[in-house]
């Protein structure tokens, strides 16, 4: 239980720093430390993501880092595909989802390494008080 809470905390830090939901951490955390199946872990991860992303977006908005119209447009236009994805995952065998998820983790890891090694990427500190 402490491990699950710690992994949740870590997922939040990752979400805030990288602008993601934290699902890539929530899902394995829920499988390894809570004992959920892959599909149930994914569903439960999405529940945890909602408040985390909401608080993160609010904080970033105060720093002046959110383009509200674009964010809402991308989110609203994503809804049909998200519903389709959930329907697909509920029809697939568990092992196929596990392998797909592992593949996603490796792709994201490679993406992060590439971004980290690119000059001028990775984010220099913002000027103090920006957007306040």
């Amino acid at each position: 239980m402490i491990a699950a809470a710690a992994i949740g905390m870590l997922a939040g830090v990752v979400a805030g720093m990288l602008g993601v939901g934290g699902g890539i951490i929530f899902v394995p955390g829920l499988v390894l430390f809570v004992g959920l199946t892959q599909v149930d872990a994914e569903a439960t991860s999405l529940l945890a993501i909602v408040p985390v992303a909401l608080l993160g977006a609010y904080r970033q908005h105060r720093y002046g880092n959110v383009r509200v119209r674009d964010g809402l447009l991308v989110g609203a236009l994503a809804v049909p595909a998200a519903a389709a994805g959930v329907a697909i995952v509920n029809a697939l065998p568990e092992r196929a989802i596990e392998i797909g998820f592992a593949g996603l983790q490796l792709v994201i890891a490679a993406q992060l390494v590439r971004r980290s090694l690119t000059p001028d990427a990775g984010g220099e500190p913002a000027s103090p008080g920006r957007g306040r």
Binding site: V20, T44, R67, A78, A109
Partner: protein, 120 residues
């Protein structure tokens, strides 16, 4: 006719939504690079805007999962509540430190987790 820009944002949304539904993630790993590469966003602005989109995407995806009876609410709170502290820390850190080191640590963690899943 929707503008070219709206169509592009719809493309980003569709890719992110599919990822979200299939993998139980927010779709930020799709949204952030595409906003930077296709729309000239700065890194921080992309991550902030991505978080807003994720609120909508994850809410829709979890609602559909709820219909299948896959959502464990108590377990979601168990990881989600500590994550609220984490996201405050993460957004604060992001304004002050380079994300490079954290990105590399995070990548290492993902590889370890993927190997564990594949070796199961």
């Amino acid at each position: 006719m929707p503008s070219r820009r709206t169509i592009e944002l719809a493309g980003i949304g569709t890719a992110a939504g599919l990822f979200s539904g299939l993998f139980g993630v927010g779709g930020g790993s799709v949204i952030v690079p595409l906003l930077i590469l296709r729309h000239g966003y700065h890194e921080r602005e992309a991550t902030g805007t991505s978080l807003l989109a994720i609120v909508v995407i994850a809410a829709a995806a979890v609602a559909v999962h709820g219909g299948y009876g896959n959502v464990h609410v108590a377990d979601g709170l168990l990881v989600g509540l500590p994550a609220l502290g984490g996201v405050v820390l993460g957004t604060t850190l992001q304004q002050r430190v380079p994300t490079r080191v954290i990105s590399l640590l995070f990548a290492t963690l993902l590889v370890a987790s993927a190997v564990d899943l594949l070796a199961k």
